[in-house]
């Protein structure tokens, strides 16, 4: 089976800052990959290049067979980007729920507006996905009435409702109080078990150890190490990986 | 403001004491009184900072005021409050007297004292130069403009002008709608700008003549509708007694009538002699 996501020689500049340096990575179907790395190493930018929230400066992004060159322009490019976005679901650190819509409306907004799905069918699909994240009973609440953990779970349901081939998570638990982290991680674990392909930027080493098929370590816009979590935490090869793991430990955890 | 610290108990002494008389005039009433924008303030003037000097103003009223000042033996300075502040009385000593072509009316006499008239103007109706009206009656039901708080407005609204019936030659057109703008000049300019909110305006003949001379597309309609006695005015509520000042001003104006100085000024500014009382 071909990989779901294939990133080849991806370069990204912000002004003169070289943030991603000819980076390549593949994500196979049903694989869960955790990306770790210190702040500023380019983890978010990598995720955001995959669904073109940032336009890559150069390189090729291929998602589920759709191949897009970075740095292009024009209508065809826009169409390809749109297709890629339909194949990917993104979950942000800051949730980014639409505050003026109820929970259910948040979840069906994509299917109805973008996919032009029948409203009743979309509601069915939406309820199914809210069920999946354990929030059926909140369908008519507005987001401001939810806790952070609940918000993030709605955000996951919103992404799932688009039936993506791969889910991108950018530090989904960093904005949460410690006690709310668990409920979100549990939903993610469940997704992983269901066979969802996932690319997760996270500081949660426990989650990485338990769920990830592969852990990818980034530093300065490059992938410096990549292996199974057991191996990585026990015998890190790169000194930067070592430093990273030490830092988490000395953080008192 | 004017007034100043007055050790004197009457206004005339106060004026002589400070060395200038503060006269209110309208600064946008050509040719009676208007700014001399090229004139510069003399260095040795006694006038207060927010008053204008004789060098900065010009016009018929200005020359009369100047002559009055000379008769009192003091410098003449001009205050420029808006017209309705002058006619409303209660000047709280901000200026001494008005020389501003003010019409003597019974209403105004309740709050102001007047000198003897120094000239007389016919009030007329003017319309746009391409208008087809031929007489006053054609204006029935039309809108006509006048400066706010002027006798022209009072006449248009059918109010009591408060002067002798012999001076009133015509009644306002039937059902006329009155539009009052801040001054009569605004009426003229609105017509020149092409506004059609009203068809004509009432003002003094001198103003209409000046409008025509300045190239505004207006013309006089018919002959004069009434005649006004114009005089200097004093505030009845002044904290200082104005009796002696009024007497001095009356004396000065009478003298100017007598020796032809007023006639000269009138011909100079209006091109005709308006200083003879209408019969």
């Amino acid at each position: 089976m071909p990989p779901i996501v294939k990133v080849s020689k991806l370069d990204k500049y912000f002004g003169r800052l070289h943030v991603l340096k000819s980076l390549s990575i593949k994500v196979e179907s049903k694989e869960v990959i955790c990306i770790i790395g210190r702040s500023g190493s380019g983890k978010s930018t990598l995720l955001r290049c995959i669904n073109f929230l940032e336009e890559p400066s150069a390189g090729v992004i291929e998602v589920d067979g759709i191949k897009v060159e970075g740095g292009e322009k024009g209508g065809r490019h826009r169409q390809l980007v749109h297709d890629v976005r339909l194949k990917t679901g993104m979950v942000f650190q800051e949730f980014n729920l639409f505050p003026h819509m109820t929970v259910l409306d948040n979840v069906i907004e994509g299917p109805v507006t973008v996919k032009k799905m029948d409203r009743s069918k979309a509601v069915e699909l939406g309820e199914m996905n809210l069920e999946r994240v354990g929030l059926s009973q909140k369908r008519d609440e507005y987001p401001n009435r939810l806790s952070g953990g609940q918000k993030q779970r709605v955000a996951i349901a919103r992404a799932l409702a688009m039936e993506p081939r791969v889910m991108l998570f950018d530090e989904p638990t960093s904005a949460l109080d410690p006690e709310l982290i668990g409920e979100v991680l549990n939903v993610m674990k469940k997704l992983a078990k269901e066979g969802m392909t996932m690319l997760v930027v996270t500081h949660e080493m426990g989650f990485a150890k338990e769920v990830a098929d592969r852990v990818v370590v980034m530093a300065d816009g490059e992938i410096v190490e990549e292996s199974s979590p057991a191996q990585l935490f026990a015998r890190p090869k790169d000194p930067r990986t070592q430093a990273l793991i030490d830092r988490y430990r000395s953080g008192g955890q | 403001g004017g007034g100043g610290p007055a050790a004197a108990d009457n206004l005339l002494d106060a004026i002589k004491g400070r060395g200038y008389v503060l006269v209110s005039t309208d600064p946008n009433y050509e040719p009676q009184s208007f700014l001399n924008t090229s004139g510069s303030r003399p260095g040795d003037t006694k006038c207060p900072a927010d008053a204008l000097t004789t060098a900065e103003m010009q016009g018929f009223d200005v020359d009369v005021a100047k002559a009055v000042g000379e008769a009192l033996g003091v410098e003449t300075c001009f205050a420029t409050p808006s017209w309705d502040l002058i006619t409303a009385g209660n000047w709280v000593d901000k200026w001494d007297l008005s020389v501003g072509s003010m019409t003597i009316t019974t209403d105004r006499q309740k709050i102001l004292d007047f000198s003897v008239p120094y000239y007389y103007t016919p009030a007329v109706i003017a319309v746009g130069s391409d208008a087809t009206f031929t007489s006053l009656d054609d204006l029935a039901g039309q809108a006509v403009c006048a400066g706010a708080a002027t006798t022209y407005e009072t006449w248009l609204t059918g109010g009591d002008l408060g002067f002798p019936a012999t001076s009133i030659y015509a009644q306002p057109p039937a059902d006329v709608q009155v539009v009052s703008l801040e001054t009569d000049q605004e009426c003229a300019q609105a017509i020149a700008a092409g506004r059609t909110d009203f068809v004509g305006y009432v003002t003094s003949q001198t103003v209409v003549n000046a409008n025509i001379a300045a190239g505004l597309p207006v013309k006089q309609l018919g002959s004069s509708v009434y005649s006004e006695d114009l005089a200097a005015a004093f505030d009845k509520s002044s904290t200082l007694d104005t009796t002696s000042l009024r007497a001095e001003v009356d004396k000065a104006i009478t003298a100017m009538h007598g020796d032809g100085r007023l006639t000269d000024l009138s011909t100079n500014w209006f091109g005709e002699d308006l200083t003879q009382a209408p019969k």
Partner: protein
């Protein structure tokens, strides 16, 4: 314009919040010995109520003082108070008050025009097409760079020359609308930028086009954000509409006040009457606005 953000909540806000749970729990334990928490809570409530009523009292005193200023009394201190002619006031209050409706009507028309222009200007300001960006900034700069007073005269005198002959009311509405539109464009710009980048990105991420993102996600939030400041502008506009009186064609409050004041040599009384009406309008509109604001902030958001 009390927006209830001060220390003393507006009466209706506090009563809605505080009283109901209070009486509920008071009913539950109708025992003579109140809990310490009850006591402390009640002490706090009492203190707040007392502050509010003292403030109310002071307002009352200040109002009385203000009215007293106009009784024309001579004080022993050598200060003379202002004398008002109450007969004049009684005779003309009807004429002046009938300007309230005109002022309101004028302001309503103008705020609609202004809102439209402000939204267009704010969107233009976000445009990447240079002429549109330039037009929007040029409009805002020119209008905000010159006095409203002057603009009103200008529209009155200049438009007829290019053959556009508007009624006084319409000229006033256009002048006010154009002027407020330029100022309010900042409100809509703030509204648009209050919708965080995250919202746009979330919309993009589920595949929305820029147009869908704008109409479905950004504008609804921006407009809701803009409602309270637009309310403020409306209140300000009712007062700026007084400037329209200068053109003489719109018989709103100020026009009526200056008109009868001048004609009958009672400008002061006339102005005071107008001031009272403006103040009352402002207080009523502010109260309405507070309610709208409270609902918006409490409600669904």
């Amino acid at each position: 314009m009390h927006k209830g953000s001060g220390k003393v909540p507006l009466p209706f806000v506090s009563s809605a919040k505080g009283e109901t749970p209070m009486s509920l729990s008071a009913a539950k334990r109708k025992t003579p010995s109140k809990s310490q928490s009850e006591l402390i809570f009640e002490a706090q409530q009492r203190k707040e109520r007392q502050f509010r009523s003292n403030v109310g009292l002071s307002w009352g005193l200040l109002l009385i003082l203000l009215v007293f200023l106009f009784t024309g009394e001579k004080l022993n201190l050598g200060i003379k108070l202002i004398h008002l002619d109450w007969d004049f006031i009684r005779a003309n209050i009807g004429f002046i008050s009938s300007g309230v409706g005109v002022t309101f009507y004028l302001s309503i028309l103008s705020i609609f025009l202004a809102t439209l222009l402000a939204l267009l200007a704010a969107l233009g300001r976000l445009s990447i097409i240079p002429p549109i960006y330039a037009l929007s900034t040029f409009y805002v700069s020119l209008i905000r760079g010159t006095p409203l007073f002057l603009q009103i005269f200008f529209f009155y005198l200049a438009l007829p020359q290019v053959g556009i002959n508007l009624s006084g009311l319409m000229a006033g509405v256009i002048a006010l609308g154009l002027n407020y539109g330029a100022y309010m464009s900042e409100i809509f710009r703030a509204g648009l930028s209050s919708v965080g980048k995250g919202q746009r990105e979330a919309a993009q991420a589920i595949g929305m086009t820029p147009t869908q993102t704008m109409t479905r996600i950004v504008l609804p939030q921006a407009l809701r954000f803009a409602i309270p400041p637009t309310g403020n502008e409306f209140i300000a506009m009712t007062k700026d509409s007084a400037l329209i009186s200068a053109t003489g064609f719109v018989h709103e409050l100020m026009w009526r006040a200056t008109k009868v004041g001048r004609a009958q040599f009672h400008s002061l009384e006339a102005l005071i009457m107008a001031a009272v009406f403006y103040w009352m309008m402002t207080l009523v509109l502010s109260a309405v606005q507070s309610r709208i604001e409270a609902r918006l902030s409490k409600g669904e958001r």
